[in-house]
Amino acid sequence: MSQLTKETLVLNMGPQHPATHGVLRLILELEGEVILGVEPVIGYLHTGFEKEMETRTYHQNIVFPPRIEYLATFIEEQAYVLAVEKLLGITAPKRAEVIRLILAELSRIASHLVYLGTAAIDLNVTSLLMYCFRDREEILDIFEMVSGQRMMHGYFRIGGLQWDLPEGFAERVQRFLEDVPRRLDEYEALLTDNLIWRKRTEGVAVLSAEDAIRYGCTGPVLRGSGVSYDVRKAFPYGGYADYSFDVPLGTNGDAFDRYRVRMEEMRQSRRIILQALQGLPGGPVLVDDRKVALPPRRELVRSMEAVIHQFKLVSEGIHPPAGEVYAAVESPRGEKGYYIVSDGSNRPVRVRVRSASFNNLQALPVMLHRGTVGDVVVAIASIDIVLGDVDR
């Protein structure tokens, strides 16, 4: 009998499992209900984006970022164009910068709503998923109005934006944001005051601040453990220095704290967008640099020079100087960085996508150590991974 109790059970979970939020496989080593070891097996969504980006010009590459992290599309585009702009040594016009920031913060709300809905449905709160996706749909409608696409926008350009905002954008965003606090309060009432939700998340999937740093975690996972590190505050980019907002922190580093951090981040995003809409400047949305941005359509019928520039940009692309840059943004999952190496030709030598989900997922075995099987889905949901971002 004593021989039997010492045996451990190896359980395979995934890769096709509804609670893994994508195609993730976990090999669990169990002693009864208790988890002794977890080994995440990744790579099922590896699509070789980094290799593909080496074979295309800087402009062509804009299509890839939103496909890597498909829940926070504008933030991903922002990260890529900021890196290329840094490489070129240019900055987008102020108006373009503020519009990017508004869309990025809307993306953050949309992404956190998906987190909330899927984290809740993992614990059988079915109705919340519907509410969250309803709200996210309103944001995607706004995105469609701006860029023509709900998700894979390709709206940001190196040096600015594809075109200016449509009429009625500000009113529509404002109308949506007016209702956000009430809705968030409702969702919190459903969860925060719910005994089952609290028992399933409090003290579950705990990650200490020390471990979070040792594993290179960023975003709500790191902040849930009480470490105040937000790229928007630490290394302000894209105009974030102009707005006031708070960085919510957790104390215990459990799934409940990560949930609280994300709820508060949505409120802070709303605060940023409202400030940005107030101070939305006029002016152009694309730099006036003919070696970087396409000339306006109306010039093409009047100026031979404009036609030549158009031809060179379309048939060859941009030629940044040789060098290497790293530009990071705060994505809903943490620090998302693009490290681009250029040799001076029209395509990058290397594009490295620093993904927050990859590092955060690595801390999963630490979170689950000596936890129970039932906590696995809670832990995965609380990291809020996007497998496209993990595997790239």
Partner: protein, 170 residues
């Protein structure tokens, strides 16, 4: 104000064999034998977060590979980039003894570039299938179409519609 990388350069002395400055970013090139020591010194200086660990293939230039470390300090906010040059047959020391988070990052570099890390506890492929041959992010690893089952078609690089131009700002 003294920049954090200048403090680090002072502390490391001759371990730093070069500095690359571009667009207000500094890359410290460290001798291969001294890189672990340099990483540890940087970590103890406050760069406690190993944000990224990756590689660049400079093929056909020599030395072929660069392994790049990006370290971040949370308070005060700062980051520093360290780099090691490696010849095609050289290995790098593993940083897993300093950061357990380096485990997957080094596995990814091994998987995609074929660079080996000495002292890594579990150096296996991570993104590609276990039985995959070759290392996809190497420059001599071709990116071609899948072969098709009919005649009269030569596989080509699908995305090279626009040819690569010569470097402009040499």
């Amino acid at each position: 104000m003294t920049r954090p990388e200048d403090v680090l350069v002072q502390r490391l002395g001759e371990a730093v064999v070069g500095q690359i400055r571009f667009r207000d970013e500094v890359t410290l090139v460290v001798a291969r034998e001294r890189i672990l020591q340099a990483l540890e010194a940087a970590r103890d200086m406050g760069f406690r977060l190993l944000t990224d660990l990756t590689a660049v293939d400079r093929h056909p230039a020599q030395p072929r590979f660069d392994v790049v470390y990006l370290l971040t300090s949370v308070e005060p906010p700062a980051w520093v980039r360290l780099m090691v040059h490696l010849a095609a047959d050289q290995t790098a020391p593993s940083a897993t003894s300093l950061w357990p988070g380096a485990n997957w990052l080094e596995r990814e570099v091994f998987d995609l570039f074929g660079i080996r890390f000495d002292g890594h506890p579990d150096l296996r492929r991570i993104l590609m299938p276990d039985d995959w041959e070759g290392h996809p992010l190497r420059k001599d690893y071709p990116l071609v179409e899948e072969p098709v089952e009919f005649r009269g078609h030569t596989p080509k690089v699908p995305s090279q519609i626009i040819p690569t131009s010569k470097p402009r700002h040499a």
